[in-house]
Amino acid sequence: MLNYAVRRLLSAIPTLFVIITLAFFMMRLAPGGPFDREKQLPPEIEANILRAYNLDKPLYEQYVDYLTNIVRGDFGPSYKYLDFTVTDLIMTGFPVSLRLGLYAIVIAVLFGVAAGTVAALNQNSTFDYLVMGFAMTGIVIPNFVMAPLLALVFGVYLSLLPVAGWGGGKLQYQILPVITLALPQIAYIARLTRGSMVEVMNSNFIRTARAKGLAERIVVVRHALRGGLLPVVSYLGPATAAVITGSVVIESIFDVPGIGRYFVNGALNRDYPVVMGVVIFYAVLIILLNLLVDLLYGFLDPRVKVE
């Protein structure tokens, strides 16, 4: 198992290298630069700034420099947020995104699995259609529609919750972003769970479990859910990575100081090191979470040998 994990991590290095290379050159292909202003800077000042950040060197030299710095663990300074390194920015933004994301994913799993399971056990009942209808709506409505709608209803009309802001991380400021993050995930997980549970509940070994005289609750929890949750587990890897690295849209609308906001601003300002840093961070997270999912798979399904 440990052996397997180490081998998987080593094999991630080439993947990461390709991602870094692609991201680096695509960023540089985008027109404009980090220090372009409406008003043209005097040429000698611009040359000074470029020299300070080594942007005057040929591109391949910059690329080699960047790679060497990354290996040393140095992600460089931000061009926009002066006096901040990229590592500083990620360290301040990530805990906020992580907290919202973890809340959202826990809520999504609890509600999604519960709703999907009950829907599967009452296949084609009114409850089933209600859950699936809700799920379809949840998947279809984009978060940039859902977020202002929720803010309007709960913030403006009902005045129950703050419309936006962070308030130093007080609970009431987190509710709406978490709900907006969780809704489509609940919907997707509910559909996944229902689909695979319907299939598992019709399999022969469930009939065997009933013939043993097990209570229906035990048939569902012990025999069906373990198999029925496999697709949900494999979905959770990338989903968790996406949710905890912060939704660009949701963090902008609710003005949450998470990592997603730095990513957007970084891209808009051509703040190369910030964008690169976040991309690498995101890639590493996805690789780690996928590894975790594969290890979990071996635990949930003995036929999958992690060797």
Partner: protein
């Protein structure tokens, strides 16, 4: 068939299982715009008694309701009507919780050995699970001990206890199924085509295993199969089903040597004989046509569309089970003709 007729076949012993007029219908929705629900009569008016230590064979073509009958008896499917009496208690229509105390007495062995085992549990856990439900007072050590004993009895090595179902062959999986069914020492085991998915050599092993266990523990068996040779080997009495209806029921020897129903005769004539000379000269009764749809079964006798003896009366009147002898009943208007 009258109650007296059924009990007469039992020669005075008390049956452990009495089934009367058992019907299992499935509602099928047909039609696009104008929908209507039509009952699919999977099992129609089946009645029989089962005695302690006896094996009742159930034969018939695919789709004639054999497996549905098994599940209707064990309440894995809700019967539409009729009664199932287990040692004096009516169990038809009981919910899962009410069935629990009967489940330890009546177990089932399924057709597909591998698919019937939860792929995510070790076989030790699979075999032990009935004990955890029905004998919660046992310690986990005692439970393990019983699992090892039953594994040995069915010909599995106890050291395989921590393996998963996919690591076993089909025959071994069916041995696991037998062990799981046997661990509570039930009084009845319904074998729903237990060997149809196995190689012939393995079939014999499993059949003899089941037969051996029956001799050791005095089990009653309901043995379902479409293989007449196997049923003949293991059964005391045999029931012939066609489109969910009983055609004939008799002691094994009588049924094979003096079948009364034209369907039974056709089935028996189709069994290949091991002697090539006899096989070459055998007269085969070949049935014309296909099995009618159980959604719209023929009026009167369901077999009449393929019956060589069919007359007008067969379309008008459904034949009832008639007593030929104490151990022989048949549902045919013309049983005396043969």
């Amino acid at each position: 068939m009258s109650d007296a007729a059924i009990s007469r076949s039992g020669s005075g012993r008390k049956p452990i299982l009495s089934v009367r007029g058992l019907k299992v219908y499935f509602p099928i929705v047909i039609g696009g715009l104008i929908r209507k629900t039509v009952p699919l009569k999977a099992v129609d008016e089946v009645s029989f008694d089962l005695y302690p230590g006896e094996t009742l064979g159930v034969v018939g073509e695919s789709g004639c309701g054999k497996s549905t009958l098994a599940r209707g008896i064990l309440q894995l499917l809700q019967p539409t009507s009729g009664s199932v009496v287990w040692l004096g208690d009516h169990i038809e229509g009981l919910p899962a919780a009410g069935m629990k105390k009967y489940r330890e007495d009546m177990q089932i062995i399924f057709q597909d050995p591998l698919a019937s085992l939860n792929p995510r549990m070790t076989i030790g856990d699979i075999i032990a699970e009935p004990l955890t439900v029905h004998r919660p007072e046992l310690s986990s050590e005692e439970r393990k001990q019983q699992v090892r004993e039953i594994m040995e009895q069915v010909g599995l090595l106890p050291l395989m206890i921590n393996r998963y179902p996919h690591e076993f062959s089909g025959g071994q999986c069916q041995r696991i199924g037998v062990a799981r069914a046997m661990i509570l020492r039930p009084k009845l085991i319904v074998c729903d085509e237990p060997v149809s998915a196995l190689d012939v050599s393995i079939q014999a092993q499993i059949i003899n295993l089941i037969k051996g266990l029956q001799d050791s523990f005095g089990l009653s068996l309901i043995f379902i199969s479409h293989d007449l040779s196997i049923v003949r080997h293991i059964s005391h009495r045999i029931m012939v089903l066609y489109l969910g209806n009983m055609m004939e029921m008799a002691d094994k020897r009588i049924l094979y040597e003096h079948p009364r129903h034209p369907y039974t005769r056709a089935l028996i004539s189709a069994v290949p004989l091991p002697d090539p000379e006899l096989e070459k000269n055998k007269k085969r009764l070949v049935l014309e046509g296909d099995l009618p749809s159980p959604l719209s079964p023929p009026s009167g006798c369901v077999f009449r569309t393929r019956c060589p003896l069919a007359q007008d009366i067969c379309a008008r009147e459904k034949p009832t089970m008639t007593v030929v002898s104490a151990t022989h009943q048949v549902a045919c208007h013309f049983w005396q003709k043969s």
